[in-house]
């Protein structure tokens, strides 16, 4: 099926320092792999070799001069196509931005390149990050490298598939309701959604501003930690980014788990959870107990209301954010006889069905006469869900759940029924609404060989705690339990 990823951040660094390869050679090898595999996987939408080789040459010059290398020097990286890259086409997986080239870089991109990362290109995703299977991309679905007849998950399906197939060493995705964690679970790799405000959203093309977060995909926890240390931190260009110090995550993750309290909410293990997924996640939790954690049963009584809450809050924000695509300032335009006619034709032809569905749902929820019953009520329930987390973190240091109720489903299996598709995010949207960080780590496979993900939540800015648990789990063989 797929060649397993062969490089990680550490091995790239060693190879550069011992002159076994150069950053340019490495980038060339990755582009050759992409050329070979991408026609089948459809993980990349655009490549930027000029930019990548220029960056690689800078890294190689640093090595030649014996200067200090950045923490991601020479590391080939893939970027979800909702994150702005100056001079590199950025479509958000939408027809309406088919020819859009951002005039500036997102802060996360700037920080990656300052750390020496080599950006290979932009990855496929559900249109405007709206979807759970990557089938809503205007540029065709991505295939799961672990099982080509299956979806890679969404919306960051291209980034997950690229890393899982070894076409990039690490990647950035974005998570609004599960869009990093769920594809991480489906493709069998670690995938971290940081705390809301931990990573600047400057240059991230908005879907739902109170939920959107940028975070990493990697093949191991050390790499995810390194990327986090690079991209996290306050940014004066994003007033919602938090002025909270950034730990050296890589240094924090080797600590012992002795005495940590892990909460297991029964509400995440009920009806609808695939039995094989349930068994593996329970085995994963048992392994953490063996490593010194104390298991604490939890109740999070508002869990069952999270999907309904999410699909009001997220669509309301989306209907507002996506009002900007009107054929005036950027993107495509369809001519009309009047200004209004032009707006309506441009949006009708430019947006795909899921985006239109969500814009309409959000517009409905915000419209006169329905606001109190839908949007205001959803914001109140959101507070209750956040309170469930706050109460839980009075008793525990982390919360353990499955990432998704099933393993990766087949392409086309859920496209006819939007509600069924939404329910694929049932265990991830809770943390999104509460603003807390969460990771999905590989936790064995089903009998059919499909990856399973286990989710770890911690309280706000508890990324170190999450990565520490994930690292111990990885070291003890949990990924292939």
């Amino acid at each position: 099926m797929t060649a397993a990823p062969t490089w990680d951040v550490g091995s790239v660094r060693d190879a550069l320092l011992t002159k076994k390869t150069s950053a340019r050679e490495l980038a060339k090898d990755f582009y050759a792999q992409i050329e070979r595999r991408n026609p089948e996987l459809n993980a990349f939408l655009a490549l930027c070799p000029e930019r990548a080789y220029a960056q690689a040459d800078r890294v190689d010059a640093t090595v030649a001069n014996g200067d200090v290398l950045g923490p991601l020097a020479g590391v080939p990286v893939a970027i979800k196509d909702v994150i702005s890259t100056q001079g590199v086409r950025t479509t958000c997986g939408s027809k309406i931005l088919a020819n859009y080239t951002p005039p500036y870089d997102a802060t996360a991109i700037e920080r990656l390149e300052n750390a020496g990362a080599v950006i290979l290109g932009k990855t496929n995703c559900d249109e405007f990050a709206m979807g759970s299977s990557n089938e809503n991309s205007a540029y065709g679905p991505v295939r799961n490298p672990m099982a080509l007849d299956r979806v890679p998950g969404g919306s960051s399906g291209g980034s997950a598939a690229a890393v899982a197939a070894g076409l990039a060493v690490v990647a950035l995705g974005t998570d609004t309701g599960g869009s990093i964690r769920q594809p991480g679970a489906y493709c069998g790799i670690p995938a971290l959604m940081p705390t809301y405000g931990r990573v600047s959203r400057y240059g991230l093309i908005a879907f739902a501003s109170s939920l959107d977060r940028i975070g990493p995909f990697a093949t191991n926890i050390s790499d995810a930690s390194t990327v986090m240390s690079v991209i996290a931190g306050h940014d004066s260009k994003d007033s919602t980014s938090a002025a909270v110090g950034v730990p050296d995550y890589a240094a924090e993750i080797e600590k012992s788990l002795e005495g940590l309290r892990i909460g297991v909410p029964e509400d995440y293990f009920g009806a609808g959870l695939d039995l094989e997924v349930k068994a593996k996640v329970q085995a994963g939790i048992a392994l953490l107990e063996k490593l010194g954690c104390k298991r604490v049963p939890l109740k999070m009584p508002h869990t069952d209301y999270a999907i309904a809450t999410y699909y009001i809050v997220a669509t309301a924000e989306a209907s507002s954010n996506l009002a900007r695509y009107d054929g005036v300032r950027y993107g495509s335009r369809v001519q009309g006889t009047t200004l209004m006619d032009m707006y309506r034709k441009t949006r009708e032809r430019g947006f795909g069905p899921e985006v239109k569905r969500r814009i309409m749902l959000g517009t409905y929820a915000l419209s006169s006469g329905y606001y109190d019953a839908y949007y205001l009520r959803a914001q109140k329930v959101r507070a209750l869900i956040a309170q469930d987390f706050a109460n839980a973190f009075e008793k525990v240091d982390a919360i353990l759940t499955p990432t998704a109720p099933t393993p990766a489903f087949r392409l086309g299996e859920k496209t006819a029924d939007p509600l069924q598709m939404y329910l694929a995010d049932i265990y991830t949207v809770t943390g999104s609404l509460a603003g807390v960080p969460g990771i999905s780590v590989p936790c064995g496979k089903t009998s059919a060989g499909l990856p399973i993900g286990m989710q770890i939540f911690a309280s706000h800015f508890g990324e170190s705690r999450i990565l520490q648990l994930a690292r111990a789990f990885e070291k003890a063989g949990g990924f292939s339990i």
Binding site: T195, A242, G331, Q335, P353, K380, L384, P418, L419
Partner: protein, 118 residues
């Protein structure tokens, strides 16, 4: 049935979407089903609950008391914590690059179909 054809057309109008005739019934059925599911929010008693209007967690792990406060903190309290940058002019010479992305620009303007009839 919660959603009528008229509702769909009204919402499409508000959202500046010109739906094809066959789309109207498709969206009507789908939105109806989704809203029926969302109806479960009505089961909860939310009296006395402050709506969570924004997400500005300010505290590091461990400070649970504080984090509890801030996640339910609203409006004034939360925005008081916003880090505003200094009121200093920063050069931002991107007008040409921005206009280059416009479907129809006549420097320094965006051009649109005629709005005002005289």
């Amino acid at each position: 049935m919660k959603i009528s054809r008229e509702d769909v057309l009204r919402v499409a109008q508000l959202a500046h979407l010109e739906l094809a005739p066959e789309e109207v019934e498709t969206y009507r059925g789908q939105l109806d089903k989704i809203l029926a599911y969302i109806g479960k929010l009505q089961e909860l008693d939310v009296s006395g609950v402050e709506p969570m209007a924004q997400m500005r967690p300010q505290t590091a792990e461990g400070a649970h008391q504080d984090s509890r406060l801030t996640i339910s903190a609203q409006g004034a309290a939360a925005s008081a914590e916003l880090e505003l940058r200094d009121d200093v002019v920063v050069p931002c010479n991107v007008a040409d690059a921005v206009l280059a992305e416009a479907p129809d620009a006549a420097k320094p303007y965006f051009r649109v179909p005629k709005v005002i009839e005289r």
